[in-house]
Amino acid sequence: MIDREQVRKVAHLARLELSTAEEEMFTTQLNGILDYFEQLSELDVTNVEPTFRAIDASNITRQDVLETHSDREAILESAPDRDGEFFKVPQIIATD
């Protein structure tokens, strides 16, 4: 179960400002999702190692070879706001 206080904390960490109605709504929705996953608890996993990945492959690396991305403009253009060649973001209010 997730409560209103936890929703507020996660929202704060994600720098999201939620209205009281939104807090209520997200608490309900998140609990719905968690309840759904709760079904997994029915399984006995006592002797099963935690799985982090669906495919278990180690040491996947690439060579250090330069390849310049061809469409920088598209990346800049897909941002909510830009200023010339910079991305532009709203005033930053907290520093931690």
Binding site: A14, I60, K88, D96
Partner: protein, 496 residues
């Protein structure tokens, strides 16, 4: 009954360093964009480092290799199984809202670094072992430019350049074994020397490729518990690290003595005012909500791979300092200066490999060559026209007394600017030293005949005139007369 004043409390500082070293790979840690410094904004971005949906990061093999080598150089255990994690925080320099880093299974752990502390007064060195807690791989963040004001506080918006986002970093965390500003500065310098010797980074503090954050607290000597920890940032030179720590130790002791409560906070070193200022208070532990990065597989460095990388490690600065003093007979100071910079060390070693005596090579490199480089700051030891084998040749000519020291200094000027062979110049200009007794005696006889008055005065007891006659012989031979032999011969003639 005597009322003695209470003994003054002695304090000690407990210091740990977090060092970020940028690796000098061609491409970013998880994508093939360039890592070049100083390019126009957002020209080195790609869908992976920007965290666009549907993209997959893939680890750069060179990042792994460099990090393992650095781990080995820091005497760490290399993890047989290592993984990446997401560190979540929300700040505009981070395009994905998480940084790919390593949390509980870093690539290297449990190492140490032996630092050398040089005492200028006595010319001797002591050594201290600083524990290395861990070394892990992670990606750098982008760079913010604050609009509408110089500082963050006054700005109404910010501009972001993500060229640096995804640039590979090694974060090296020390144990809290450091006690003074000097130890901290020496530790950071030794890290930089190793990075440069390994050739895995440039360690340039001005460009931010080497960044040190300091954790520091003070406590009365003998107390086991740590005092309140303060983090200091924003030092961009080794001496700034030392001065920031020295300032902070005094500030913290003064606060404790005055009964003030220290707060756990981050402070910035201000170079202008030479003090630290409060930046932000920490509200409990940071909540980064680490979890395993599902897009990257684990790293399992095999024993064979590890052995191969270990075999590629060069002789490290500490080993060189040791060898230079014990095997080559150099002073602690000379060994430090010669090994401090990789290019200088390589020049020195090439010169002795070409046959120069270590002591003479050290003297010329640290004397005339360094002075020349100080006056020509666009040059470095590596691109001097005077090559190490030619310096060795010059030193050889002095040692076998073909030329005098004075003649060598003259030749050096031409060699430094134009390069070439010392032997060839000596031959061309007829600079060879005259060590032939017959030839010198002829010159001396002439000098005695030309200066009858002085000869009479000398024989009358004014023996100080010996120098005058030697000088005249030198003048007559264009400075090529072997000074030692000339002295002997003149003295013999005058007294004979």
């Amino acid at each position: 009954m005597t009322a003695s004043a209470p003994a003054k409390t002695q304090y000690e500082a407990v210091i740990g360093l977090e060092t970020h070293c940028q690796l000098n790979t061609n491409t970013k840690i998880f994508s093939p964009s360039s890592t070049k410094f100083g390019e126009p904004p957002n020209t080195l971005i790609d869908p992976v480092c920007m965290g666009l949906p549907g993209t997959l990061p893939v680890l750069n093999q060179a990042v792994l290799e460099s990090s393992v080598k650095m781990g080995l150089a820091l005497n760490c255990e290399i993890a047989p199984y290592s993984k990446f994690d997401r560190k979540q925080y929300f700040y505009p320099d981070l395009p994905k809202n998480y940084q790919i880093s390593q949390f509980d299974l870093p690539i290297a752990e449990h190492g140490f670094l032996n630092i050398e502390l040089y005492d200028k007064e006595t010319g001797t060195a002591t050594h201290k072992r600083i524990g290395v807690t861990r070394l892990h791989m992670e990606e750098d963040a982008g760079k913010l430019v604050h609009g509408g004001g110089e500082r963050l506080s006054g700005s109404t918006y910010s501009l972001v350049d993500y060229n640096r986002a995804g640039v590979p970093l090694m974060e090296i965390v020390s144990e809290p074994d450091i006690r003074t500003g000097q130890e901290a500065a020496e530790y950071a310098q030794e890290i930089r020397r190793i990075v440069r010797y390994l050739g895995v980074g440039d360690g340039n503090m001005q460009e931010g490729s080497l960044r040190c954050d300091v954790n520091i607290s003070v406590r009365p000597v003998g107390q086991k518990e740590f005092g309140t920890k303060v983090e200091i940032k924003n030092m961009n030179s080794f001496s700034a690290i030392q001065r920031a720590i020295e300032y902070e130790i005094e500030r913290q002791i003064a606060a404790v003595e005055a009964g003030e409560k220290l707060v756990q906070e981050t402070r910035l070193w201000e170079e202008g005012s030479q003090r630290t200022i409060s930046m932000r208070k920490k509200e409990g532990a940071s909540d980064y909500r680490y979890f395993p990065e599902p897009d990257l597989g684990p790293i399992e460095v095999s024993a064979a791979q590890l052995a191969d990388w270990r075999s590629q490690l060069p002789e490290l600065p500490a080993q060189k300092r040791q060898r230079y003093t014990t095997d080559l007979g150099l002073s602690v100071y000379d060994a430090r200066v010669l090994t401090n910079d990789r290019a200088t060390m390589e020049y020195f070693e090439a010169a002795i490999a070409a046959g120069a005596s270590a002591k003479l090579a050290a003297n010329w490199i640290m004397g005339d060559l360094s002075a020349y480089l100080n006056n020509n700051t666009d040059l470095s030891m590596g691109d001097l026209p005077l090559k190490p084998d030619s310096l060795a040749e010059l030193i050889g000519l002095i040692e076998d007394r073909t030329i005098s020291n004075a003649a060598a200094k003259n030749i050096l000027q031409e060699l430094l600017t134009q390069g070439g062979s010392a032997k060839a110049i000596v031959k061309r200009d007829g600079l060879g030293q005259i060590s032939d007794t017959g030839a010198l005696e002829t010159a001396i006889d002439e000098v005695l005949i030309e200066n009858p008055k002085e000869l009479e005065q000398y024989r009358g007891g004014k023996t100080k005139l010996l120098g005058f006659f030697v000088g005249q012989v030198m003048k007559k031979t264009g400075g090529r007369a072997d000074p030692k032999l000339t002295n002997q011969l003149v003295s013999k003639k005058l007294n004979g």
